[in-house]
Subunit: 232 residues, 4 copies
DNA sequence: AATGAATGAGTGTTCATTCAT
DNA sequence: CATGAATGAACACTCATTCAT
């Protein structure tokens, strides 16, 4: 039914949608720029141009450059958490029969998370470069820290479940989780550099051709190393 | 015998030593600053202050910021190459009986190289951020690129020899070398972030307590995965 | 009629006007500073202070120091060209009966061009000092070079017409044009130095009192030397 | 006769000679550098390298960059004065019969002075760029100012004599002297710019081919304009 | 809400000048 | 006397951020 009340509501909704849409546009632009230049060399001007808006507008959506950056990184961590949550659920439901499957899905989780937003994923490593001290409102900062922690915690829990269920060999889960993450990030990083040396501009294709088989081998090696059931 | 001739020579020598010493002071300061801030956020001013000299003095020893940075990174690659050359020689001399030994020494090579200059090692990854185009005299630039290539080539050759001699299982050496490097760098990077989150300032101790056992586990996993002789 | 449309237009217009006004303010400030210090000693900071704005603002109107400088010089060349075009038209229309008139107008052309922007005129000579190589976008650079060439070409054509019409004696027009320009610039330059030695600050008055009669005499001498009709 | 006294004297002399020689070396180097770069862009480093000595040594011969510069300019003014003194003497001895001769020798005087040290001559015009205020010891500054004044005074006297003796037409000698100087400097300047535009590096040849005929024409025009004896 | 314009605080780099030897 | 090394003071140019509209 059409009422003045509903009309107002509709306008409100549209505005919200538009606002969210613009926010996403900015984030997408920022992602591209941060990725190709690194945190420090990326300028707000360039991001604004990439988003086809004016610079001050960015500041209406994100308090600072740091804030924008972290807003980019957060979803990646969330995605990782979601992936791991699925794995966790699967394990708790007893859906895994072999360690190989588990390892395969572990790698899939990482890869899916990377694929969702390759740039966002890589940007995670720029964390070091950022102004680690500055304010940025406590909220974002805390959120980021907590998100990271929870992600890793869930990863460890997945490994613990795998060990408990006799799917993978007993190892220190802290260390193992770090190794998996380190391996994944390190390999992705290396292949990016390699693919950029050949032809600059990350056209995805070249990168994928390097990355996928390497990750496949890594998965095979970890299956071999971690799984209980013996040689494949 | 003390002669005027010797005297002059002695003075020359001392000056050379002093110059070299100052060069090292600057490099050490730069290492600290680059490491803690990243390439872009590190300022020449800060490096000068860290080295307790004036800014222009830096420019008497290093042509540009880039030059300074690369002078920091080059020795690390050289060290890596040296380590691998030793492994290569050992393999060619038939000194390796078991794959486990080989994997252990492979990890040792990486670790020794990291230990020689932890900051320098990590800085390698900043390569992406650097002004990849600028001149810096062709010499350093070319040297760097070539050094990287040759290091990786030697790493692959080591793996090839290991496979030929039946010490490790047949795998694609390109991919395997990438995985090893990626794993090592990724893990070191992750543990650094972790140790800095706990207490900023990289006091080495905290880092080492995290890093060493993790790398030990990684070594064990790779021994398991790569070696021919079966379960250890 | 007042409409919302017109309102917007009016705002646009005002902004345009303001922008142009500020541009002129900067140009005027730059003119003063360049003139009193020369290209190299003039600093952007000083120009900014003279224009009572901040330094980065200058860079919103002019890409580089070079660009600012050339933007100052270009109009002078254009004015010169315009003056000569008038002379040319007059000659082609057969409006000149005596060589004396032509020489008088030649000097008038130079003088008018100088008067339009005395500093700008003198700044032309600083061309040598400028970074002759740098980019500055090809556009301005090319424009400048071409402008100079075309101005001189037109000057020569004016002399050619004068000779053809029997108004002035047959001389090499390349050389004659160079002599006229050299004389004018050289004299202006000298009188400026002289007037500055007496009282620094180019108050125009002192300069004019020196410059005008000297140029008058130069005109008389050239009339004598160039004109066909014999002694005046 | 060889005595200890003479010996000391001889050593003193040699030292003086050597010192003077080095001074000249520096001046020659500075001349080249100042000329090709202009005052501001010329660096003491470059001058030192051109003179094949170290930078501080320059400061033992010249107090500041300004001092060095003015020491370069002074001899040119002296040469000009010498040339004019000769002309003056010739006139006073009644050696000139025709105005044409006088004008020819006037131009010769300028040209000879330019030829003695083309760079030095041109450098004179950079006077504006120099730090006109700074100390530079009063001495050099005063000397320069006075030298300029006296040179011009003598030039005017030459013209006065020429007028008195009925060789050239009565004109204001202040203005006429300024015109002659301005013409000469302006033309030289212009031809230098032109010859550099064609092929950078002032190889003299190209310049001379432009300069000489132009000056020849200028001389002819001034003969025509200034001389009493009528058309040539 | 969006933007054109403005700016304070740096950046890397250079240079005239001065020590210490 | 000559010099290698050092430095204070600039300089052109940039950027995250904020007004005014």
């Amino acid at each position: 039914m059409y009422t003045r009340q509903n009309h107002r509501q509709a306008i409100q909704d549209r505005k919200h949608r538009e606002r969210e849409h613009r926010r996403q546009t900015i984030l997408a632009a920022a992602k591209r720029v941060f990725f190709s230049k690194g945190y420090a060399k990326a300028t707000m001007d360039e991001i604004a141009m990439a988003a086809e808006i004016s610079k001050p507008t960015i500041y209406q959506y994100f308090k600072t450059k740091d804030d924008l950056y972290f807003s980019l990184v957060l979803p990646v961590l969330d995605e990782l958490d979601r992936q791991w949550a699925e794995l966790e659920a699967g394990l708790e439901a007893g859906r895994y029969r072999s360690g190989a499957r588990l390892v395969r899905d572990l790698f899939k989780a990482y890869y899916h998370c990377y694929e969702t937003s390759p740039e966002g994923f890589m940007i995670l490593e720029l964390l070091q470069q950022t102004n680690q001290v500055r304010e940025l409102g406590v909220r974002t900062r805390a959120a980021l820290s907590e998100r990271g922690r929870s992600s890793f915690a869930r990863g460890r829990h997945v490994l613990e479940l795998g060990i408990e269920q006799g799917l993978i060999r007993p190892v220190d889960v802290h260390q193992a989780a770090d190794i998996l993450w380190g391996l994944f990030v390190g390999v992705v990083q290396l292949e990016i550099i390699k693919s950029q040396q050949k032809r600059p501009g990350l056209k995805g294709d070249a990168l994928d051709r390097l990355l996928k088989p390497t990750l496949k081998l890594a998965e095979a090696l970890f299956t071999e190393a971690l799984c209980v059931e013996g040689r494949v």
